[in-house]
């Protein structure tokens, strides 16, 4: 469970170009929820995600994850609970390392990286099985550098890497913005599957209203750093696409 309590984030505090990215936001996200966050540019979506991931520290307020106060923890310590997929497909994986090496790191997301060799036959098999679920034929390329793959493939693998260890929160910051429609569909379907099959608590930021309508069981609209709308599963299922379009009218 993620609990944001009275979170505010100011940039350039006290200067003429001060920006209030988040304005006293309180938000509870329950385990297994798939929350879709929409809002105009500058509404605070990415800041919200960055505050949860620990990329940005809140100016005011408190964050709890699974009952732990994580407010002062840096990003690398929050990886115990949080996995991320970035807008830029290049950010989620190390291009010069093999697919296998990338998956090895992901499998140790919540653990120490010891000075022992962890890649063995059993691990290779496990990675191949995981990757074959994608149906992209990448399971035979695990010794190739990640950089050889397309953006869509890398994004799908980044998503898959998020479930190699026992993190249970998945943050998706416009993961399909740089992808073609076909790859975008693969990535979102996979995210949906991970949420439904494994109960990953998922937060998806998107500018695509169709995706916001189709995926998730909770819809939040941000506006100028505040929560404008918070629609639960039942109400969301009754929303039509034109309804959501109207919010941006």
């Amino acid at each position: 469970m993620i609990s944001l309590q009275k979170i505010s984030k100011f940039f350039n505090k006290g200067k003429t170009n001060e920006v209030t990215a988040l304005n006293n936001i309180s938000l509870q996200i329950n385990e297994g929820e798939f929350v879709v966050v929409i809002g105009a540019n500058g509404s605070g979506k990415t800041t919200l995600l960055n505050i949860i991931a620990g990329v940005e520290m809140p100016s005011l307020g408190k964050i709890e994850i699974n009952g732990n106060d994580v407010t002062p923890l840096p990003e690398y310590k929050r990886s115990r609970w949080v996995a991320r997929v970035f807008q830029n497909p290049n950010n989620g994986t190390a291009p010069d390392l093999t697919i296998l090496d990338n998956f090895r790191l992901a499998a140790l997301r919540t653990q120490r990286k010891n000075m022992t060799i962890g890649i063995n036959a059993a691990f290779k098999k496990k990675v191949q099985e995981k990757i074959s679920e994608l149906g992209m034929g990448l399971e035979n390329k695990i010794n190739q550098p990640m950089g050889n793959l397309s953006g869509g493939q890398r994004q799908a693998l980044t998503l898959l890497m998020s479930v190699m260890d026992d993190t249970n929160i998945l943050l998706l910051d416009e993961p399909t913005a740089a992808l073609d429609p076909k790859s975008a569909l693969v990535v979102l379907k996979l995210a949906d599957k991970l949420n439904k099959d494994l109960g990953m608590t998922t937060i998806l930021i998107t500018h695509n209203i169709k995706d916001a309508h189709q995926y998730g069981n909770r819809l939040i609209q941000l506006n100028e750093g505040k929560i404008l709308r918070d629609i639960n599963a039942e109400m969301k299922s009754r929303l039509s696409l034109p309804d959501i379009f109207e919010w941006f009218g």
């Binding site: 690398y76 989620g92 190390a94 390392l97 090496d101 790191l105 010891n114 000075m115």
Partner: protein
């Protein structure tokens, strides 16, 4: 084989650890660390002082590597904690080390004659030169295996990923600052090991022996990189061997220049021009390809 080339081989092995240190900082971590000039001399200086005080050579070896790693940690702390550019951090530590080295050595040059050095611990061959070569080879082979092992471990994957994509490693629970500190410590310990070897090989330590040595390591790594791209190799063990091959090629070029009768005073110029040649070669050739 002429004496020139045998010397080049021996020297290239002695400088091999330093080249591997530069490989770690430049290729693994993507940090331009030039603490090298200082930590190389530091290794030599610690070796000279302890050996002339009759310390056993096997105790001197770890001590000078620890000294080198401390120098690396200083650079890493300045870079990561004070957020100062790595290049500047390296220059600062290197400059400071000059005085430290001078204080440790007590004067600008200490000869190491009639001293039990690492190179006369074994006498398998009748020829001293071969014995020296054998000892150096033994050390470098152990080093190749250790470094290869380290880079293949889970920690090593973390090291390689940190240099490759620091955004990703943070989300994988890696403390990038900590891993860089460890990396620079290892790199400069290796550099100090080269100082340890060269001081005993040439039988003296000199306060100025490190000036420009970073270029030798850089050249070796650049040659290795050219080989890696040319042969399309991603295997870690081979990359390590390429760095050592780079070190050998570098020393052979210098030996060849000397054999051609080039004034030794021009050696640094030859070094700089050779490195320029290696750096410029891929760029020039790609431009020529585009033009044609």
């Amino acid at each position: 084989m002429s004496q020139f080339y045998l010397t080049a081989l021996q020297l290239s092995i002695c400088l091999g650890p330093m080249a591997l240190g530069i490989f770690i900082t430049m290729k693994i971590f993507n940090i331009p660390d030039i603490t090298t000039d200082g930590s190389y001399t530091l290794g030599a200086v610690v070796t000279a002082v302890l050996l002339s005080n009759h310390w056993p050579v096997l105790a001197v070896l770890p001590l000078c590597m620890i000294a080198g790693s401390v120098a690396g940690i200083c650079t890493a702390l300045i870079h990561t904690k004070l957020r100062i550019d790595a290049l500047l951090a390296g220059i600062l530590v290197m400059t400071g080390l000059y005085s430290v080295n001078l204080i440790i050595l007590g004067r600008s040059n200490v000869p190491l004659i009639n001293i039990h050095s690492i190179f006369n611990t074994l006498s398998i061959f009748n020829n001293d030169i071969y014995n020296q070569l054998f000892v150096a080879l033994l050390i470098i082979i152990v080093l190749i295996f250790l470094l290869r092992y380290l880079l293949l471990t889970d920690f090593g994957i973390g090291m390689r990923a940190t240099g490759n994509n620091p955004i990703m490693t943070k989300s994988m629970g890696i403390n990038n600052d900590f891993i860089k500190i460890i990396g620079l410590a290892i790199a400069n310990a290796l550099t100090a090991l080269s100082g340890f070897l060269v001081a005993q090989y040439q039988s003296f330590a000199d306060i100025n022996m490190g000036i420009g040595i970073v270029i030798t390591g850089l050249g070796s790594v650049l040659i290795a990189d050219a080989l890696r791209i040319w042969m399309n190799v991603s295997n870690i063990g081979l990359q390590i061997l390429f760095v050592l091959a780079g070190s050998l090629i570098f020393q052979l070029v210098l030996a060849f220049s000397l054999a051609m009768g080039i004034d030794p005073n021009f050696l640094k110029l030859v070094t700089a021009l050779f490195v320029l040649f290696i750096v410029a070669l891929p760029r020039v050739s790609s431009q020529l390809k585009r033009a044609s």
